[in-house]
Subunit: 331 residues, 2 copies
């Protein structure tokens, strides 16, 4: 079990016993300041610095039973994951995360330590990116729902959309691919190890810094890998009206992932190509652009053709599809 | 029944049949541009102008059964109300709303026209304030949940918090008070009229422009009335460490509201003092400040004393308390 850093003992009580204002006090007491937050929680609205004169904003919802399970992930990990997936979207535009807003639905019978540890996780993940929680809302309801909005600053980079990839560009990726999917398979079969993959599923580590760095290097298109590499590159190919071919030999498949794949009868390449939720960052760059060490060139941008918009070694990837939030995958 | 402006015929289908991407396409097809939205829905994140170099941000959740009922309000009205309550928070800081982000939880069996008309309502209310929907997220779940984040620009006004009220200031209000509460009472007794109050409950009309105007006039503290006048002034009194006394004779109680009160055996002053959700704007001003025509002076700021932090005609208001989202009021 992962411990909950920053946790402290609680009087045993439920969210319903504590009441709305008590819970808000408890949650805000756990927060720390962030350099961009001018006015934090407690007023009608937050005020956040936007030195670039533009603000980047993204919102995501996580529901219990659909996006997380309390028996698989601690509240702390859910908080880190919720913050991470939102801030990855900010980074994937080329921006630096500055602040998060939290909308939280909690059942009355939920022990208070669950939202408290969730908040600790959100706070700590925000701090990884030098951001902070600036405000939120808490209401009672039947299903735990975590709605996070992340804000970010472009620092004078132009935002990198999905629509700028051009034939001749290279496709490069940084961060982790397939680790969360492998961890999901391990957990769903009742195992708790290998730890590295289980922890990757519980708590992704998006390479936040890589987004603004890629923007500064002239990335032509960029996204984070939330639905799977093939699916998310499909969004770039669609928006940019190009074809993208991945070179499977250039994709890094760790030996331990091969071992799990062998044990469960799955080609680990499938996890790398279609596993979401690691929040790697994938971008296209002009071919002549020299890339920093942690980026790996994994494919190329081609003119559109009769082939599917994303191919692997020149052919359709049959098992592609990625992760649809309307599937019942986690049910 | 209110009609749904902007609605158009739908192929009969449910959210589940349409799928995540189909629903997102349907919803975004209904949107219009806003002057501040540089990059709208469809990428990893939105980009919104923040010319002031600061962005004001607020987030709120509305749940079916708690904050709205499908038999009382159309989807269109829920959308307008959700957008209104968020943009009222932006205005209450002294800012101009610029953009909204929508997180939406929908059951698979929900007819598609419900979220479509919700989106129409959000779009139209945003347009009232010259804002626009910039992005969002849609997931499937059991309870319809509308999570809205509003962004705004201060236009070089200083943000007006709840903590700046000083003894000697006057308390002034603009907008509607008690109308939504009276409409709630009418609806809960199975009536559909008087229409003015029923419509006020279904669709508040916050005076967005008044927030920035009050900031420019030197308001010392400000909030929107979402929980009731006494409760929300309590937040200002608490944050400012003052007492606030309301003068009941200065509160406008329309004759028709008196009639409803008489019919149901409720003192309509209670609705005016404790009814939330109209999103009037209440602010404190230096006593010498001349106020525009639509502001009404309703009380004064005093030094703290042994009396409650908010009094009415110098005495405690027994029936105060406002609206707590953890109560079962709408259940």
């Amino acid at each position: 079990m992962l411990s909950s850093p920053g946790g402290r003992p609680h009087a045993p009580s439920t969210v319903g016993e504590l009441g709305e204002f008590g819970l808000i006090r408890e949650l805000t007491s756990r927060l720390t300041d962030g350099p961009a937050v001018r006015i934090g929680p407690g007023d009608d609205a937050a005020v956040v610095a936007a030195p670039d004169r533009r603000v980047v904003a993204s919102t995501d919802l996580l529901l219990e039973g659909r996006h997380f399970r309390r028996d698989w992930s601690t509240a702390y990990d859910v908080g880190r994951k919720a913050a991470a997936q939102n801030m990855a979207d900010i980074a994937a535009m080329g921006a630096v995360p500055t602040a998060l807003l939290l909308g939280l639905v909690v059942p009355a019978e939920l022990p208070v330590n669950w939202p408290s540890e969730l908040m600790d996780g959100i706070r700590d993940e925000a701090q990884v990116a030098a951001a902070a929680v600036a405000g939120g809302d808490v209401v009672r309801g039947d299903t735990i729902t975590v709605a996070i909005t992340a804000l970010g600053d472009l620092r004078h980079n132009e935002p990198v959309t999905r629509s700028g990839a051009r034939p001749g560009d290279v496709v490069a990726v940084t961060g982790w691919l397939g680790w969360s999917a492998a961890g999901h398979v391990v957990l769903s079969r009742g195992f708790r190890s290998p730890r590295a993959f289980v922890e990757a599923h519980r708590r992704p580590e998006p390479p936040y810094h890589a987004g603004p760095a890629a923007a500064a290097l002239g990335a032509t298109a960029m996204t984070d890998v939330s639905d799977g590499l093939v699916a998310d590159l499909g969004h770039i190919a669609e928006a940019s009206r190009v074809r993208i071919d991945l070179h499977s030999g250039d994709l890094d498949i760790p030996a331990q992932m091969c071992d799990i794949g062998h044990a469960v009868g799955v080609d680990p390449l499938q996890w790398v190509l279609t596993g979401g939720e690691d929040h790697a960052i994938v971008a296209t760059f002009p071919a002549e652009q020299k890339l920093p060490a942690r980026w790996r060139t994994v494919g190329e941008v081609l003119a559109p053709s009769a082939l599917p918009q994303v191919t692997v070694d020149g052919a359709a990837w049959d098992r592609a599809g990625g992760w649809s939030h309307f599937d019942d995958t986690e049910r």
